[in-house]
Symmetry: C2
Subunit: 346 residues, 2 copies
DNA sequence: TGACCATGCACCGTAAGATCT
DNA sequence: CAGATCTTACGGTGCATGGTC
């Protein structure tokens, strides 16, 4: 596979041309599938390419075409299940479309670091930049600055000046609440994500809209930070609320913490309190009790991001697919409310 | 930031040269910090660079130097906490060293896909390829084929023909078992990872070596697949083993499943059975009970991979650091064995 | 005339040799 | 003579132009 001649040089288009007895331009035409090449000539060139194991130089090609078939990907935040999965599937979709992806990952959402990473990508002549970032601040960091290349954000809030793909967090939250309401719950509380998280805000919106539609009260939501620890802390608070019979938790990690706190307080899930999470992380089906949750299709999201790129670049006229709506996965952490608790509600 | 003139062109080295009143070669000398440039001239050139917002074209530079300052990263398998963290920190370390990283992620460890991804990276003239792969098959896929660039594998088993960085899984496993032994446990079972996982094999090795050293029996280990579900399945088997008082589980996800199964069987953790996991995932501190586990320093691992790259490329003479030894994090899932169970052992 | 193919040049840097002060 | 600077060549493509049958 090392494709090198005696002098350690890889074959060039001129080597191929000489071997095939044509000009380098004809080789170029064959490479790029252009017309006006006689089939016999084409065959000779292809034979020479194979024989010399010639592969075109991306650097030389990029220099003259100013196209690199390379995309930039910026991912901020901890390597949690959602963003990591989205990045993985985006990467696979890009490879399928014969694009390379230069990735810039960073734990912190620091505006200066993000901007310098974006500039680095632009200098590498990426054709578009995809941003996977849960926090609003990540969009702010790249908003307004003129990158010179299209920016596609995976984000659940709208923003001028950049393209966007997302999953319907609002609809997912409504699924969760509708499920609890249909089981007979009337006092349904919410543990949300951090205030700067766009997904969290959409889920709060869905929760309160669903409650309003059913004429049910919406108590002030609690706000965690996505971690199991914050779920535990707020779970202890929720355990003292004798009126509520169900909690819609904004992600599965916090839901695990909530269930732990409820168990410690002597409350049974789902007999005393029903719990619905969000994401369907791998652990969700195997905690005690298995968690009813809202599954997000990160595969679709990653592919949608790539579809967005192709749409913007004009490679592909296919429209970017509609945002997919999450699925409710009913497991054992939800059931009809117990008589005792129902009796307490007004 | 769009750095373009009226015709939409970015500045070239010639534009800078003209503005500074020097030749483009002098500009190049300034860019590359070469000597023999008068301070006054250097200042004029730097002023012109700033004024035109000139940045050198990586494509043109790569064409002539055959160096791209770009690395390839291949990551296989699900986006679990360990590999995702390692990839993140490697990425940050690479950026600190002013390298770009082209990433190829793939869910499946398919030899053909891996090889074509590696070839794609080589065509992009990456200067080295880093492989993060838990499975032995991933090393097999790239073993032997002549890539033409150095390959640095993050892998816990040795392999000819490639450089390697790793965390000391064997020592980590010994820490876990030593902890259990020091608490008084004498019948310590093991739930390992899948047979094709290199980390899993090392942990089995550490577990059995520690037992042998203490003169304790090593029963045949069970083998899961890293998922919480497989932990649950094997946990039900373990629950019927009346003699064992502790289980060393090869990762935290499976440990969660095991604890769930034990709880279902009416066994208390740690009163009846002590559990030690591996990894210290974010959930570990908040499950019930909080999990004693072996923390791996994925940050150090990612940086070690980058150090390995720099070492191979000769950019940096600093030695690749010694593999770091994991830390034991003692939480509530381990305690001295109960009298009842101890009495049962011979 | 049109299908086929060759020639020259641009792209934007770095490296080596030539020239000037 | 040597430090400072310039001139020339080159890398590997794709595009525009032109030539030939």
């Amino acid at each position: 596979m090392s494709d090198r001649d005696d002098k350690g040089r890889v074959a060039t288009i001129f080597d191929v041309a000489r071997l095939a007895g044509v000009s380098h331009q004809t080789v170029s035409r064959v490479l790029n599938d252009l017309p006006n090449v006689r089939p016999a000539t084409r065959a000779r060139v292809e034979q020479a390419i194979k024989q010399l194991r010639y592969v075109p130089s991306p650097a030389a090609r990029a220099l003259v075409t100013r196209r690199t078939r390379t995309l930039g990907l910026i991912v901020t935040g901890a390597p949690d299940y959602g963003p990591s999965s989205t990045a993985l599937h985006f990467n696979e979709a890009a490879r399928d479309a014969r694009y390379s992806v230069i990735t810039a990952s960073m734990l912190e959402t620091d505006a200066a670091v993000m901007r310098s990473a974006a500039e680095l990508l632009v200098r590498q002549n990426v054709e578009a930049i995809v941003l996977i970032a849960a926090q609003r601040a990540a969009l702010d960091a790249l908003d307004g600055i003129e990158l010179g290349v299209p920016l596609i954000a995976v984000a659940s809030e709208d923003r001028g000046g950049m393209h966007r793909v997302w999953l319907d967090q609002y609809a997912g939250a409504r699924l969760a609440v509708d499920h609890l309401v249909s089981l007979g719950h009337r006092e349904i509380r919410h543990l949300g994500g951090p205030p700067n998280a766009m997904d969290a805000a959409e889920r709060v919106r869905g929760w309160s809209a669903a409650l309003a539609e059913h004429g049910l009260p919406a108590r002030e939501p609690l706000l965690g930070d996505w971690t199991p620890g914050s779920g535990y802390v707020h779970g202890r608070v929720l355990a003292r609320d004798a009126e509520m019979t169900a909690v819609f938790v904004s992600n599965d990690q916090m839901a695990i913490g909530v269930m732990h706190a409820l168990a410690e307080a002597g409350l049974s899930v789902p007999d005393d309190v029903s719990i619905v999470g969000f994401d369907d992380i791998p652990e969700a089906a195997y905690v005690a009790p298995p968690l009813t949750t809202v599954r997000q299709d990160f595969d679709a999201l990653g592919r949608a991001a790539m579809a967005g790129v192709l749409g913007v670049l004009g490679d592909d006229e296919r429209l970017v697919p509609e945002p997919s709506v999450p699925d409710l996965i009913v497991r054992a952490s939800t059931s009809a409310p117990s008589r005792d608790r129902v009796a307490l509600t007004p």
